[in-house]
Symmetry: D2
């Protein structure tokens, strides 16, 4: 589908690794909707990923940047403006990583060097990006900035570890900077709280299959896919959502509005080995 | 602007009175985006309003209905399906009225007959509409239902009176029925929590000017207008938001994310007649 | 345990039926903490329950009242003030009933006469109580009013039906009237959102066993019992919580803060018949 | 007042500087309620404050500790257990500091070295404390840990700067670790979101007078004082609140439940220099 929703708009997209990435899907959809943009990721992600395919398809330049490094961000933003021919209209931040998770340090045995790094990569990078753009006056009036988040920022999901705290910090930064950007520049900043999504980054995590089954059965519309998230992100970048700012919007098939669904309860009750099948709706 | 976002989609729009109504703007935008729909309001609103102009402009049939009356709703939904040639894809519920407010009964001196009526008109009508459509199987798969709400459902604003409670009930009904509709029919139900908007219905309320000045200065992007709300509603009706359900989304220029803004504080401090001008940002 | 936390305080307690009722436990604890109070319930509940035992134990007078009837409430409040020798310091509202649930009408097939009754009994009764007390000036400065609620007001739990909407309305009324009472009388109004609790009223509901197992395993501290809820209610009545108002406080062993726990996930995975045991914490 | 609510309980109290500190008031009240505890603060705060007076009054030992330093925390916790004769039952974390605020770096011109320090002092210190206690098995079953927070974690208040993000992170850590502590040790972890309070630490901030006037007039019960916060904290430490965990509870006179109050609006309208006095309630 294509509506020309982003016709003439310019952007920067962080975080596309391979064709399972949400950022990848956002890039594809943004291209279909008429936008031009640059792509960025860390040098090592660029090496291991397949971003060149995406760049070719979308006619986009790839600019390496470590999002925790202000100089890299300055370079990225300046080059993007040069390449795109002016200020950008939209930015996607899709960045998160926890060494504590990777190294299997549980939440009551965190390594603080890793914790600081989790926060820097997954949350402070968003402030650095916004501050860099602010100083370079790099975003157009009525521009739209989106960062991807997860419901672990509000509710504990075992195993999500210090990434939960990073997402809470990320959402707070979106709110805090959204105030400044709204007041001074008429630019909006929001986070999208997406269903758990099977990406290459996340697929190695043990226990994720059970969780995704649970969220699938709990969400009345099922888990939201990466493609669907891309569509919603396009709506948030478009001129249809100009007055939505400082919000964290759940794009999750309804999971966040649920306490317990009939479908998940039936599955749970099987585990109980009882014949207590729920009768009420 | 037009993107053909609703091309081929059918709908029902409640609550257009005159060209200040949000529902009026939604109808205009839905028409521009390629939708066909019926319009409805109470018989008395139809008499005093200017809905025929809108109907003509949008090529829409007007069907009178008292939204608290299930038979009226059945008639409306059946006729709409006949006229539009099948199930509908979207519905807008923009209905609210409090006799306690009109008759200046303050919240600690409510008349319970009026309170029940406030709830019936402003909230239960939404359940009646959803249940009627459910029984008539009147909404297409991946259809979208939106009701307009207000932040008084979460935070007390003096003077909003029993309408605040009605909006809380409305949002709960959206959530409760959103679960059923999502699970059984793949249809989404959401509420949009809109900035205070100067409509004909609301303009008579004393004290509203001060409040709207306050929300204007508190919201980083200013109050959202009826036109902007219509644009956001279109996005919620479109296929870009298929997995958003059971949510209450603030379309308010950022007001809901604010505790106190610099602009509002400056204004407030003038009232304090002090020279305590805030220095920090 | 007894701390004399309510020494010299007077109150009214709604909703004690038998010794499984939360209100029953609150009465016992309030008595232990030095309070005097009246007990009330509907005439029919008084017939079928065992409230006389409680009244004797607590040295309390029982006054029948239908909480949806303003005259009954006036009589109750006036008599309570006579018996107790002045204004009251605390009130517990523990009232809820849905004929739709009782008659097994599912949420997409509600009878509206019942729905109105659900709201009247479970939510509007709270407004009627507060308004009656307001007009009779029946609550002392720094008094405390508590109503019992449930997380279904925020998140859908299948089967809770129109009671979810009633609880959302109840919490809104607490907030709306809390503003007036705080501003004019320095009285606080809050709701306690309690774990699902096995009471006589709730025990007949099918499917409740599975749900309570799920909430038990999801809540890090397990479900909160009626006795524990009584203790928390005493704290909310005491002078230690004078500045907490217009809040809905979760007393639920942590359930509301959870997305998914390890314990519940293990149980759920058994139902999946997989060997995907979660490895991460 | 004294109820012996903490009789026989042992604790650690962070953050008492002088008699305006909330932590100071908590210490006084904990002492009155029968607890024994150690006091702690950074070496420099101990030099400039008057903590020795408090220590004498409460019969408490003062142990210096930099709460960002795990070794210091280990020493503090071990010594506290030695002095108090066993595990502790309660801990108060009242720690926050932003060099960006102190050095007047606005939010769109933060120094990242300072930002990291703000997070480390105001939020990560709480994780370090909890993890240290966890490893040392230093908290008794049904113990209670409280950290002080502020509504800036949810809503932007201009000037609160990166402290807002730190409070959001702090509340997330309370939730995340509350899950582990609840599940494994039956210990609860909560945050109290307190009204703005005139302490020595906060009193130098420009613009705070206007803000406190606004919150005073907006909160139906007025701003909560440090003494009142101490009372509420005692309730949270007591056995009356055993099943409340992973919560952020507003102790703010109702501010968090308000959108706009009549009193604040009247003041605001004076600034508007209009005669639009609100007529509705």
């Amino acid at each position: 589908m294509s509506y020309n929703l982003l016709k003439g708009k310019k952007g920067i997209i962080f975080g596309a690794l391979d064709n399972k990435s949400i950022a990848w899907k956002v890039a594809e959809r943004a291209h279909e909707e008429g936008a031009i943009f640059t792509l960025t990721n860390t040098p090592s992600a660029l090496r291991f990923g397949e971003i060149d395919q995406l760049a070719e398809k979308c006619n986009a330049v790839v600019i390496p940047a470590d999002a925790t490094n202000v100089e890299d961000l300055e370079n990225l933003v300046k080059k993007s403006m040069e390449i795109l021919g002016g200020k950008v209209d939209f930015i996607l931040h899709s960045i998160g990583m926890s060494l504590n998770v990777r190294k299997k340090r549980v939440y009551n045995d965190l390594k603080y060097e890793y914790f600081a790094k989790t926060l820097d990569i997954s949350a402070l990078s968003f402030h650095k990006l916004l501050q860099t753009c602010y100083k370079l006056n790099a975003i157009s009036e009525w521009g739209s900035v989106v960062a991807l988040s997860y419901i672990a920022a509000q509710r504990v999901l075992y195993g999500y570890n210090d990434m939960a705290d990073a997402k809470a910090l990320l959402e707070s930064i979106a709110r805090s900077f959204g105030y400044i950007y709204g007041r001074e520049r008429k630019i909006r900043v929001n986070t999208i709280s997406q269903s758990p999504t099977r990406t290459t980054a996340g697929s190695g995590v043990k226990g994720v299959d059970g969780l995704m089954d649970f969220t699938e059965r709990t969400s009345p519309l099922g888990n939201a896919t990466a493609e669907e998230c891309a569509n919603f992100t396009i709506a948030m970048f478009s001129d249809l959502t100009k007055k939505v700012t400082m919000q964290n919007i759940y794009h999750d098939g309804g999971f966040s509005g649920m306490g317990m669904s009939l479908r998940a309860m039936k599955q749970y009750n099987k585990g109980l080995n009882t014949d207590k099948l729920p009768e009420i709706e």
